[in-house]
């Protein structure tokens, strides 16, 4: 770990301004991912801006009947909130499917969205990785790739985004609220938060330098059966091979997003037009552009079967 300086931010705008002006600055909240990466010297921030004290830890109702989740609301608290459990069950279910109790107790809403990939080649500084060291190449392509992406990937990177929570937020059409260095705020649809790798896999989000997530807003409840099914080799504490977040309405229409298959929560709205035709049709739309490796080809079929199980469960 490299030596670094540390300060506690006094306000979101202050945090943002400092992050933009101090070279090598990073925000730290729960630290469940950043500290691991710092120990491996994959992340080498020169300065840490601690945002834990900014009071962004409330869950409030919005005027239009939705919920505004502070960036620092811990995963455990968000999953347990009665309003979330009642009206956004897919989110609560996704949260408790992630990590472990200990990690969820400290992991934050914004930090969960911004966690980095778990591609093993990203985690080994000896190996080429375009995400870790732009231009060095991708050693995962042609390597061990069972856990890695099948869709939305590129010639430069086949890493996945590991979050469960983000998949549920995507299916809920959440909005990410931020403050920028000048103090201006903006709202980013969650679909536009994460970027596909293309030839710049190190650029992972649409956030500007210093831009701080302050909250995630959930639109007013849409009802329906809200399910999250995470498939993994062991029963707990494992990243998804495939996960399905679904909201299924009584008339059979609904929404679906996939986790574990792509560099971002994977949702193709056009595919949802086929909801009434069943999992095969929807998955065909979702994964039409899939380019799996030999190691992870099974994910395509697994996604279809998992969605079929979810739809069956939604039908009761």
């Amino acid at each position: 770990m490299r030596p670094f300086t540390y300060e506690r931010a006094t306000s979101p705008a202050d945090a943002s301004a400092k992050a933009a002006s101090i070279p090598g600055a990073r925000f730290i909240a729960g630290g469940t991912n950043l500290l691991d990466l710092m120990k491996l010297q994959i992340e080498t921030p020169a300065h840490l801006i601690d945002v834990n004290g900014l009071g962004l830890d409330k869950i409030e109702e919005t005027p239009d009947g939705g919920l505004r989740v502070g960036a620092l609301v811990r995963n455990t608290d968000l999953a347990a909130d009665m309003r979330v459990r009642r009206h956004y069950a897919v989110l609560s279910r996704a949260l408790v499917a992630g990590a472990s109790g200990q990690l969820r107790n400290v992991a934050t809403t914004a930090g969960n969205l911004l966690q980095r990939t778990r591609c093993p080649y990203f985690y080994d500084p000896n190996q080429p990785c375009n995400k870790r060291q732009p231009g060095s190449g991708c050693s995962a392509i042609g390597g061990v790739s069972r856990q890695l992406g099948v869709v939305g990937t590129s010639e430069a990177c086949i890493a996945t985004h590991p979050s469960d929570m983000a998949v549920a937020m995507r299916v809920l059409d959440a909005t990410v609220e931020t403050v920028r260095p000048g103090g201006a705020t903006r709202a980013i649809p969650i679909a536009e938060l994460h970027r596909l790798p293309g030839d710049t896999p190190h650029v992972e989000t649409s956030l500007e330098r210093g831009e701080l997530i302050t909250a995630v807003t959930l639109p007013k409840p849409v009802g329906g059966a809200q399910l999250y099914h995470k498939v993994r080799d062991r029963a707990s504490y494992a990243f998804a091979l495939v996960s399905v977040a679904a909201i299924v309405q009584p008339d059979g229409t609904g929404r679906v997003a996939l986790g574990g298959v792509a560099p971002k929560p994977w949702r193709v709205e056009a595919a949802e037009a086929h909801m009434k035709q069943g999992a095969k049709a929807v998955t065909a739309g979702l994964l039409a552009d899939a380019r799996p490796t030999d190691d992870n080809r099974f994910k395509v079929r697994l996604a279809e079967r998992t969605l079929a199980a979810v739809l069956a469960e939604a039908r009761g």
Binding site: M1, L40, P120, V144, D233, A235, R301, R305, A308, A309
Partner: protein
């Protein structure tokens, strides 16, 4: 004490302390975090500096240039050790590759440098500043590709009995199947860790090592210093599983670092280094052929295994159990060893049998199905009471059939539908599987010293280790039983090379041999006590803290009123292990549920019925077996060191990537020990259980998955992607 005839009645048979379910005497230290593990021994020597090991970035080749200038001047750095300034190093008997690489690199993450600094963070940061230029060379990393070039390993000839080929060809029912098991990592909680301190030419290592005396010898050989100048201290070990049988780079680099820095140095391997820097269980390819009569009698059994290792390494002895487990007049086993440039392969919990039974016991399940027989009946029909390679050489005890029968009864085997994929509970496909468990009992000499003081306290000293297994407790029980004192009148001191040389911990030989050594020393102490008290008559009686003979009873402590009485002895074995085959047996039973949509495999119930001689402490023995069953479940369902066959390393080198079971994976576990004493094995009449518990579990799981789904997976681990394409269509 020479043990060369079967044990007669002896003080252990009283079973006042031995054989009772007993809490660990070291439990309070463990649960309060006060048991001192190697890296935490801040108090043993002042002025400790921190070392950080840099591992090689390539798997095979040479270092062409190494620039340590920036590291040397980095903040806090005291010294940098590389092959350049380490002096001439030898290699330990138990090491295959050099512990310090350079200029030649033999495997990925082989240590190439140690940075010593005032703090751990400074050492780690400076290690990142070392620039190494490598000349990579092509290596062999794919066992399947190297299989055809594999050769017979030194000292591991084929075993043949009768005419295997003829009998197999003539057999009316045949099975010829090939199975694979992957490389696996020990993944114990405590990393390899050592604090090294020099005092003149004398070296002390506070380390985590299962085999203290092997360690002394290998440190001596590696550093070219006399054994008497080396002290190893390892009283608590946070899991070993074979990964700490040997001196590893933490110990060597700490010793070298302390020498160069001129002050004590502590080194722990980081989690990523543990997988590629140390040893692992090697992958295997196993071909099994079984021929049988239509009635199910095995007439031919053949087991061939291919594994790989670095040059000079050894094969995984996966055919071992097949020489002994089932009857059959015509037999063949063979091992072939390929040269691979992956990290060094070596022992991991039940080497040989653990992966061997993962193949053999699936083959037996497949054969039973071909024969239309119940798999338990098939095994019982081919049970034997003698060494099948050496007719006339009996087993000391062999209750395999009883294990299987009791297991079947307790598990409700009769309710199993032999037709695969026929039991469904909602979304879940449910199946049962079983396998035989088998692991040899190894006898090896083991010494101890016991001391009686004026307060009647008995102190045992031996260099035996407790790797989390419960050794402290069974040794205390043995001394308490033999000396006739309560458990709290015994103190046990372990893991110090100043103590008499024990068998050490490995191969499930620790419990029987180390307690037998303690028993021998206690029997010698009893003689001293009797002499001191003037009891010349027949053997006095030691009970309740007193000694009685000829109507006199005096407190035991009285024998030491003029000074401590000390006795030292060792157990040594004759040829009973040649005359008798000594092994432990189990029946493993597993119920699984497989998600009919996703193929996710979840265990529901596990049962092991074990026959392993006298069970010294049923509580810690049960803990050993449930831990081993858990490890067996991991091997069956998830554990695999994934090889990058281009770059030659295990890619998933952390505990996020190398998955081992978590609590949610392990359901109800039940362990039954058959009432058995084995007077052939030792005066303790005990054997081992710590490895028996893993032997056969993987196959029982795979067989249960087959029963649940009808999918026969022959390549471990049995993961959902291997069954997915064969699951029922979804509507």
């Amino acid at each position: 004490m020479k043990f060369d005839t079967p044990a007669a009645a002896n003080p252990i048979d009283q079973l006042k302390v031995v054989g009772k379910a007993t809490d660990r005497i070291d439990g309070p230290l463990k649960t309060t975090g006060t048991a001192p593990y190697a890296y935490e021994r801040h108090d043993v020597v002042a002025n400790q500096a921190h070392g950080f090991i840099l591992g090689s970035a390539i798997a095979k080749g040479r270092i062409s240039r190494m620039d340590i200038a920036a590291a040397k001047v980095a903040p806090g750095v005291i010294a940098v050790v590389t092959a350049e300034n380490a002096g001439t190093l030898g290699k330990g008997k138990w090491n295959t590759a050099a512990l310090l690489g350079g200029p030649e690199i033999q495997h990925y993450h082989q240590a190439v440098a140690l940075v010593v600094a005032e703090t751990f963070e400074q050492a780690r940061d400076a290690a990142g500043l070392i620039k190494v230029d490598y000349q990579a060379e092509a290596g062999a990393y794919d066992l399947a590709a190297a299989r055809n070039g594999a050769t017979v390993a030194k000292g591991e000839p084929d075993s043949t009995v009768g005419d295997f080929n003829g009998a197999y060809t003539a057999a009316p029912v045949q099975l010829d199947a090939t199975y694979t098991t992957p490389d696996q990592g020990h993944a114990m909680m405590e990393p390899h860790a050592t604090i090294a301190a020099w005092n003149g030419d004398k070296l002390t290592l506070w380390t985590a090592n299962q085999m203290i005396n092997w360690g002394v010898k290998d440190v001596s050989q590696t550093l070219n210093i006399p054994e008497e100048n080396i002290r190893l201290i390892s009283p608590y070990i946070g899991g070993g599983f074979g990964g700490k049988l040997f001196v590893r780079s933490d110990a060597l680099m700490a010793a070298l670092g302390a020498k160069v820095a001129g002050r004590p140095v502590k080194v722990a391997l980081t989690r990523p280094l543990m997988f590629n820097n140390t040893t692992h269980r090697p992958a295997t390819i196993q071909r099994i052929r079984i021929g049988a009569t239509r009635e199910g009698r095995i007439t031919a059994i053949g087991h061939e295994s291919w594994s790989g290792d670095l040059p000079g390494g050894k094969p995984e002895t996966a055919v071992q159990q097949t020489r002994l487990l089932y009857a059959g007049a015509n037999r063949l086993t063979a091992m072939r060893l390929a040269v691979l440039d992956l990290p060094e392969g070596n022992a991991m919990r039940a080497p040989g049998e653990a992966p061997g039974l993962m193949a053999l016991e699936v083959a037996m399940d497949e054969m039973a199905e071909k024969l239309g027989m119940d798999p338990i009946q098939f095994r019982i029909l081919n049970d034997t009471q003698e060494d099948p390679e050496k007719p006339g050489r009996p087993y000391s005890q062999r209750q395999l059939t009883e294990c299987l029968r009791q297991g079947a009864e307790r598990f409700g085997w009769a309710k199993r539908d032999p037709k695969p994929a026929s039991v469904r509970e909602g979304r879940w496909l449910v199946g049962m599987g079983m396998a035989a468990g088998f692991r040899n009992n190894l006898v090896t000499k083991s010494a101890a010293r016991v001391r009686l003081d004026g307060q009647g306290m008995v102190t045992v000293e031996t260099d035996m280790t407790d790797i989390g297994t419960g050794t402290y407790t069974i040794i205390a029980q043995t001394a308490a039983e033999t000396m006739g004192v309560p458990l709290d009148k015994v103190a046990v001191r372990l893991g110090d090379s100043n103590f008499p040389v024990s068998c050490g911990s490995g191969g499930q030989w620790g419990a029987n041999n180390s307690t037998a050594g303690v028993y021998a020393a206690c029997m010698k102490l009893r003689q001293s006590v009797a002499r001191k008290l003037g009891f010349n008559a027949a053997e006095p009686h030691f009970a309740d803290g007193h000694v009685s003979s000829g109507g006199h009873t005096v407190p035991l402590a009285q024998a030491a009123k003029d000074g401590d009485l000390v006795a030292e002895d060792q157990i040594e074995y004759g040829d009973l292990d040649k005359k008798y085959q000594q092994s432990t047996f189990a029946g493993h039973f597993v119920e699984v549920a497989v998600d009919s949509a996703t193929g996710e495999i979840r265990l529901r119930r596990m049962l092991a019925v074990c026959a392993a001689g006298r069970i010294l402490n049923p509580k810690s023995a049960r803990s050993q077996v449930i831990g081993a069953m858990t490890m067996g479940a991991g091997a069956a369902l998830m554990e695999e060191l994934a090889v990058d066959k281009r770059r030659g390393f295990f890619v998933n080198h952390d505990l996020a990537g190398y998955e081992v079971p978590v609590h949610a994976d392990i359901p109800h576990q039940e362990v039954v020990f058959l009432d058995e004493v084995d007077p052939i094995s030792s005066p303790m009449k005990a054997k081992g259980v710590g490895e028996l518990g893993i032997c056969g579990v993987g196959a029982a799981v795979a067989n249960a998955v087959y029963n649940a789904t009808g999918v026969r997976v022959r390549d471990y681990p049995v993961t959902l992607d291997k069954v997915l394409d064969h699951l029922p269509e979804m509507t």
